[in-house]
Structure formats: C-alpha cells, structure tokens
Symmetry: C2
Subunit: 373 residues, 2 copies
C-alpha cells in the first residue's frame, strides 16, 4: 500500500435479515451464518477479507445480544463494540470513527457490511486501495457495483467523470474514482431499468471509505450531537462496553443510516466519489439470492444443492435444501424452490417470491409464533 | 331393490399406492388413509358406501400384513379374507366369489376398489342397481366413468349401444347399460384425446358386478386352475385365514388382474356391458389428484389446505400440507405444491409431477432408505 494513513476496517454487524428466516433469527442474525458455503460465517469471511488491508485491529460494532456469539466466531482478530440498542449505521460508524481517530490520528476507516458475499478478494482489495487513495484526498469514497440487472432491491449511485483540469480532479481520476452526483434509494423496476440503460449508475453496496477526521467534521456540521457523542463514547468504552453514562448518551442518539446522514448531503456538495467495482458482489438478501449463488457455483441448471447434513433424494428437481437434521428429504419436480428444515419450523419458499419471507416474519408475532422470530 | 339375487360387495384391498408415499407405506397402504378428509379411511368410506346395498356382510380381501389394521377400522361390518401373498385382483375376487356362491347360491358379487373417492353415493347406488340388473341377465357388468380429460393414467372402455331387437338386448338397454366392445389399457395422451373426442369411451374404474356362478364358470373355461382353487379355498378358509394346504394352493395361483383374466376375453365374446356413471369419481392416484379434489372442495384457486394438525402460515401460496406434528410450517409463494411432513421423512412435490413420486419410491431401497418404503 502506498497510503501513509493507517487504515482501520469497521464492520457494522446489525440487523437480523428477516428475509432469510428461519435460518436467520433475531437471536442468530444473518451475519453469523455460513451462507456462502465457505465453512465460515459471512462475518468471519468479511473480517478475513479485510484483515490483510488493516493497519490495526478491525472494529466490529454489534448489538449487545450478539456480542458473545461474535466473540466466539472472531476471537482476537477483531475488536468488538457492543451497542446497547440498534441505532442504524451512522451512530455505530461514528463511534468507531471517533475511536480510530483517537487511537490512530489521521486514520482512514472503511465501513463494510458484515453479511455480503464478495469474490475474488484480490479484486475487492484493488477497489479498496482506490477508495483509500480517494479518501486521502478528503473524499467520502464509496465502492459501486456494476449492475447486472435492473434490480429494485438495491439503492443506486449516479456517477460522472469530471473533466476538470485542477489538481484534485486529476488526482481523483488517477485514483480510479468518479464523482458522485447523487444517491437514489431503491427505485421501482422501470426506473432501475432506465438507470442501468444510462450506464451512469452503480449499485450502492454500502461501502464507505473516509478519513475518520473528515467523517467527524462532516457530522460536526450536519449532525453535531452525533459527533460530540461519538467522541465521548470513544473515551467511555471499556472492553467494548459503555458505562451507564455512555449508555444514556447512546440512547439519545438519532437512529439514522450513514447514507442519509452523510453520503447524500455530502454528494450534493461534490465531496463523495465512487470507485467502480471489478468484483462479484451479492448482499445475499433472500433465498432467491442464495439460489442464484448456488447455481452459478454449480454451473448447473438442474439439481439439488444441500446445505447441511440431511440426505436428499430427488426426481427432476431444481432446489436448495437447508437442514442440519438427519431426517431424509424427498423432492419431486419443483423448479426454483428452497426448503429450510429446522428443529422448530419448516419453511418452503418459491425462490422468485423469496422477498415475501419478510412479510411472513412480520406476522409471526400476531399469529402466536413470536418465539420463532 | 328389485333384484331377487343376494348382492354381496367384495373389496380387494391390496397395493400400497407408492405414488402417495410417504403418506402411504408398505405397512400402511393408501386404503387405510383418510385422504378424502371425511374423518374415515378410503376403505371405510368404500365399505359404508356399499353396506346399504348388501344382502350379506361385505367381503374385504387384503394382505395378511394388513389384516389387523383393516379389522381395527371395520370391526364387524365386514368379513376379512387374508391373502398369504399378493396375487393381483383375479385370485382375490375368485376366492370371494366362490365363498359367496357357497354361502348364498345365486349371489351377485360387486367388486370395488378400496381406495377410490366417489360422490354422491346416491348416484353411485343408481349405477350399481343398473349393473346388478345387467348382471341378472348374465353379463359381467362394469360401471364406466365419463371422461373429464384425456387422461393417460386410466384404462378405457369402449361401448356401443346395440340396436338389436331381441329380448336380451332390450333388457340390457332398459337396465341402462351399453355393450362393451373392448377394454384398452392406459393409452398415450394423443390416443386418449381421440377416445374422449369420439364419445364412445369411458374410464375403467375397476368396478365389476357379476353373478358369482357366471364368474366362476367363465374362469372354468378361461383359467380352470383358478376357479378350482377358488372353490377349494372357499371351503378351506376359517376366520379369514387359510390352512397350510390352502396357503400352498394360493401360492401356486397365477397372479393376474381381473381385467386381463376375465373382462377382456369376455368382452370379445359380447358378454360384458357397461353402465355409464353419473357420479364423481377419483382414484386419488397421486398428490396431484388430491390437490384437485381439495381445490374443488374449497372452490378456491389460492390458499393452503391443511390435512392434520400442523399450524401453517403462508404468503400467496396454493399448496396442500399433510402433517400430524405440531411443528409449524411456513410457505411463501408456491403454486400447486404438496408438502408431507412425517416423523421420519419430508416430501415436497410439485403437483404436476406427482406421478414421479413412484420413481423416487422405487429408488428408496438402493439409496439406503428401504425402511422408509
């Protein structure tokens, strides 16, 4: 690496991922699962992908309820900050940024979701290097994913290549980054199709690389209570836990995503850039996404992919089975169906309708099955 | 009833119905299941449908392995003959016919499958009365089902209306029966379509009504060893079981269906007639058939039909669930899928491919799951 600033990865690990229920539960969120079939959880994969780039121990920010499970998975390879409650991504990242700046002045942080699948990591690293180079210039740098379909499940980033001849514009171009004109939240399919057709849009994978100081100063301007609190919390934290006073402060923070709190307003000021990604990325949002991953792995249209130890017998099936029980599963016909056989519930889902698992999970409580959520 | 001959129903209850596995098993065949959702098994439904027509206790012929289960279901309302081994339908019916003739000389027997669904029973009775009237004339009378689709899953009966002016032809017509020119085994779909279009064909539901003496004398001619043995076995049987000698005799019988042994050769002699049925009939051959029954019951295109006690939550699903466990089942999407959740195996089957369950069951043994068959 040619950067002179220390680079510290930050991994906000929150949200249970209801669309992957019942694999993911409130008590056992998506990032703790081995969904890529790598033998490691998505969180551990994420951490291992980032560790070679790190100048100091990466920081994971997670809910207090998951602290132990996360610690069991990552051991000493990450530092864990335990959130007293879920406050969306901005408070978590601001807290980590303040800690990084306090311990490593001039640090660049890179925030990456704990539950995405990325291959190959060498290409990911290239993207991060470019983003770090752009962050050195003072930008909030993001990494944008080349859209492969007009998906309405992702947010979009509109980019443009500045042809300005000033030194900064030249430096940005030489870092391999484009300027960002705006972020767009999940559009409808028609709008998404126009975006993709235009060639100017990338998927927003929620990857942000920025100098900790730049981030905190931007918050000083936009959300001063947030940056003030983050600096206090960075002093307050002991062994990843906040004191009673720190907790009180945390509870008063505005729950907001970094996209709305920082990325969107900074983009309108021309302070955000995007590095086009050259790696494969999937947010593994639902069982449909898992099936697509599996079929590209197998390079097979038909067949049954089994995650777990259950014996499966099938006739002309294209399906994906998740089961750790030894109870045999028989499949006949079926084209694009996922089956999740757990001890306390069975889910059968049509991959094309996999997003609707979230609606079902919402109804669990009122249907008297809150304990399954 | 206007007939003067005693009428004795015979119910051959054999075959496990592999296309309904794992609801049906070798040890727990289809006829023992409550597939119509009536609260009674198909066998008990069949028996109750026939009892009001009976002049004497109906006879059930079943495998020795199922004798106890059958007795538990039917109690004193039927007489059970236990076959030492499966020999297809002709030996079973011949044995029952010989017993009926021995105890009720001049009896007419009516043989009906143990595992079909028929409604309404009043219309069924009308069909049987007509068949009995035809059997009085010396015919082997069958009841034919008006085809509602060019199914290749059923055999067909070709009928013609004789315009002969002789007394017998007039009597046959007045009984509401047509002459049968031939039986055709399951045709391909194209041939089936021609059959249906011609208007001359009916589905063969395996219902045969005939004087016991006529049946035995036809066998004397066509399969003399069979009728000889049947008469001996009718004397041999005690409490439904054969002696060692009887068993020895049974084991040497030719395993053959009544269709091939009697119906086809007698049709070519002009000795078979058919009564067109005015009732709804389903052989409940596979999960697809069960789903069709369910959807006509519910009169609903969408929705989940649950057989058993499992709680089911669904989002936009058209499915059928069979489970006696209390484990909840969640369904998302799916259009025409059946789920069978048993203690030792889970089956998920696309209704349109339901016939292929039989292929899977054939592979159970070689796949190391013979105990599930």
């Amino acid at each position: 690496m040619t950067t002179s600033s220390p680079f510290i990865p930050v991994i906000p690990a929150g949200g249970s991922g209801t669309r992957l229920w019942p694999l993911s539960r409130k008590s056992h969120p998506k990032f703790l699962l081995d969904l890529a079939g790598s033998g490691r959880s998505l969180l551990v994969d994420t951490l291992e992908r980032l560790t070679p780039l790190s100048s100091a121990t990466p920081i994971i920010v997670t809910g207090r309820a998951h602290r132990e499970a996360v610690a069991d998975q990552v051991g000493d390879s990450a530092r864990i900050l335990a959130e007293p409650s879920g406050k969306n991504s901005m408070p978590a990242i601001a807290w980590a940024a303040a800690l990084a700046e306090r311990e490593h002045p001039g640090a660049i942080i890179g925030s990456f979701a704990a539950d995405h699948v990325i291959t190959p990591k060498e290409d990911f690293w290239k993207g991060v290097y470019s983003a770090i180079a752009a962050a050195e210039l003072g930008y909030l740098a993001t990494i944008g994913i080349e859209p492969t379909s007009p998906s309405s499940a992702f947010g979009y980033i509109e980019a443009y290549s500045s042809d300005a001849a000033d030194e900064e514009a030249i430096a940005l171009r030489s870092a391999g980054a484009l300027s960002v004109s705006r972020f767009v939240e999940k559009p409808d399919r028609e709008t998404a199709a126009e975006f993709v057709k235009s060639g100017r849009f990338m998927w927003n994978a929620g990857m942000f690389v920025v100098k900790a100081r730049v981030l905190l100063e931007a918050l000083d301007d936009l959300h001063p209570a947030m940056s003030d609190a983050a600096r206090v919390l960075a002093e307050d934290v002991t062994n990843g836990e906040l004191s009673a006073e720190g907790e009180e402060l945390w509870e008063h923070l505005e729950p907001i995503a970094i996209d709305h709190a920082l990325a969107e307003p900074l983009a309108s000021r021309g302070a955000v850039c995007v590095v086009p990604a050259s790696f494969d990325w999937d947010d593994v949002g639902d069982f449909g996404a898992l099936s697509r991953m599996a079929s590209s792995d197998d390079d097979a249209e038909m067949g049954v992919h089994v995650v777990g130890s259950a014996p499966v017998l099938s006739e002309a099936s294209r399906a994906r089975v998740y089961s750790d029980s030894s109870r045999p599963i028989a499949l006949v016909g079926l084209n694009g169906v996922s089956i999740v056989d757990t001890g306390d519930v069975l889910l059968v889902v049509e991959d094309a309708k996999a997003q609707e698992v979230a609606s079902l999970v919402k109804r669990l409580e009122s249907a008297g099955f809150g304990s399954l959520a």
